[in-house]
Symmetry: C2
């Protein structure tokens, strides 16, 4: 499983996605342009002290991101990709995901670029919401879609036995910009 | 289904929960003390223009909240309540929810008060995360748990047919404080 944020704008949401990425040990990808600097304090803060545990890649563009993702599996990329969209496609809860699925999310205000949406028209996934609401918060959607996809794929979720064991790297003050 | 936030601290998270509440047409409850005013601009902003569509109740304390919730179903409250906790209990994905389930979430820094946790020891639900991560973002957890519970309960999700139809009340500038 991979999480891809295309042109994210709000640092708090991307930081939340990083916290999730650390909590599930799922790689996180940002595709430029970003609406914030990797040194942004809200980005760092929303990811708390977990940045050292995040497998973060920042890509100059969508094609560069695709090239890197293609290395992750022998399955064709067009079968692995799922485009999370506010409208249209298949419900998140009726979609079958696999261990090598790639979850792609657009920006908070613009969603995914039309060229990406048009390239994989069969791969759109929507989250059911009242038609009067345009969309949910991006970080919320990333969390919901990632867990739902992992359960659908039958991937083992982290074995939470009730304990919390602080990672010593949490004290290193690792910043997002240190990772790329 | 009801969403209860006990002593929420961060207005952005409660605003996100309101946006979710509007998107799923699920009632939202805040139990005082709150870490913010209902006039807080970040609370309003995170709920966008959807406050008029939120069924919000603000309760002076937990007992007052329970009294109101008890009216919602004939089933005993101790069977309906699910306490979302970072650690311990049963996995969210192995828990059976029902249409009259009540999802209870604690504060961002302190979780749920011990007296509530101890009152319903069998009703704890955790979200699987790597043991090195203390918890996920509260708004993310509210979104994930609410959708997962609705799917588990077999509740019909909103029928999103691909259209967005702005509610005329969105232009009324309704604020959270206007609702209670």
């Amino acid at each position: 499983m991979d999480i891809v944020l295309v042109n994210p704008e709000i640092p708090h949401n991307s930081g939340c996605a990083a916290r999730l990425s650390a909590g599930l040990q799922v790689p996180l990808h940002f595709v430029k342009p970003l609406g914030f600097s990797l040194e942004d304090k809200y980005l760092k803060r929303a990811g708390l002290d977990y940045w050292a545990m995040v497998e973060l890649s920042v890509h100059d563009n969508w094609d560069a991101c695709l090239s890197k993702l293609a290395d992750g599996s022998d399955r064709p990329i067009h079968q692995r990709i799922h485009l999370l969209s506010a409208r249209g496609g298949k419900s998140l809860f009726e979609t079958q995901f696999a261990e090598d699925s790639i979850l792609v999310f657009g920006s908070e205000t613009k969603g995914l670029p039309a060229e990406i949406m048009n390239e994989y028209p069969e791969q759109r996934v929507y989250i059911p919401i009242d038609k009067r609401i345009r969309s949910l918060n991006l970080a919320n959607v990333v969390c919901l879609a990632t867990y739902t996809a992992m359960v659908s794929a039958g991937v083992d979720l982290p074995n939470n036995d009730g304990s919390h064991q602080r990672d010593p790297r949490a004290d290193d003050g690792v910043r997002p910009g240190d990772l790329v």
